[in-house]
């Protein structure tokens, strides 16, 4: 077991434990913390794959931005002392059964799969990624910029307080 193997094991354990916290715990704040833990684990997995830049981007976007936005949404929407709805056992068992069935199907597909060995070296420099992003995949790059702007403006418009008042003045439908 070398250093990379140890990092892989630790990151995978972190990701899976965090994911279990994120879906299993009752308190929504604990869910968000588990989500952040899981994403730290996934970033560690990216590190073992030699994609340092992607690991940093993942940490910044998911753990940084999205985690904070989720905390804000919780504070703006859900009173923590409100009574929580009880889930029926049958529904939880059904959800678990569905997830187990999908896992089994994916495992069967994965077991028989054969992959060709890697062609080049494992290392990917950010320069190579940036070069590709601005040459071969420049359309996707521009589209994602437009998508982010549209999503940002749309989010502001949707969450505005006087959203309904502007559309129908005087309260008439």
């Amino acid at each position: 077991m070398n250093w990379n193997g140890f990092l892989f094991g630790a990151s995978a354990a972190l990701a899976l434990i965090g994911a279990l916290f994120a879906v299993g715990l009752k308190n929504i704040f604990h869910n968000i913390l588990g989500f952040a833990l899981a994403l730290v684990g996934v970033a560690g997995l990216f590190l073992t794959l030699g994609s340092d830049f992607l690991a940093i981007v993942l940490l910044l976007v998911y753990v940084g931005a999205l985690g904070i936005a989720m905390v804000y949404a919780v504070m703006l929407s859900q009173p923590l002392d409100a009574p929580r709805a009880r889930r029926s056992r049958a529904k939880i068992a059904g959800a678990a059964l569905l997830a187990a069935a999908v896992a089994a199907a994916l495992w069967l597909a994965l077991r028989g799969a054969r992959f060709p060995p890697p062609a080049g070296s494992l290392e990917v420099t950010p320069q190579m990624t940036g070069y590709r992003l601005l040459t071969d995949y420049v359309l996707a790059f521009e589209l994602i910029s437009v998508l982010l702007v549209v999503a940002m403006i749309g989010a502001v418009m949707v969450a505005r307080k006087d959203r309904g008042a502007a559309r129908r003045p005087g309260g008439a439908p």
């Binding site: 892989f8 869910n31 899981a38 794959l49 030699g50 994609s51 495992w107």
Partner: protein, 102 residues
């Protein structure tokens, strides 16, 4: 089993935990968290396959970056929708959102 298989097994487990959460949770924010876990599993899959099996790994990086961007945009819109829903209905429990049910 090769290294790649281990990465894919972790991604499958992450994806299925997310799927379980998405089906089982009743809070909209909890469902969004589960959805983001599934998206993270997908990008882990893409990066692992492109960097450990043939091909050019920088393509996988580009795909993963675009995936992260789409996930961020989706999360922003979803969270603002949740705030708006909370303002209308005073709840973000999906079982209370039944206005379109005849």
């Amino acid at each position: 089993m090769s290294w790649l298989h281990w990465y894919l097994v972790v991604a499958v487990l992450l994806f299925c935990i997310g799927l379980y959460g998405l089906v089982q949770r009743r809070s909209l924010i909890g469902m969004l968290i589960a959805l983001e876990l599934m998206l993270a599993a997908v990008s882990l899959n893409v990066v692992a396959i492109t960097s450990l099996s043939g091909g050019q790994s920088s393509v996988g990086q580009v795909v993963a970056i675009i995936l992260i961007g789409v996930a961020a945009a989706e999360g922003a819109v979803a969270l603002s929708l949740f705030v708006a829903i909370q303002r209308e209905v005073q709840s973000i429990n999906v079982e209370n959102l039944s206005e379109l049910k005849g």
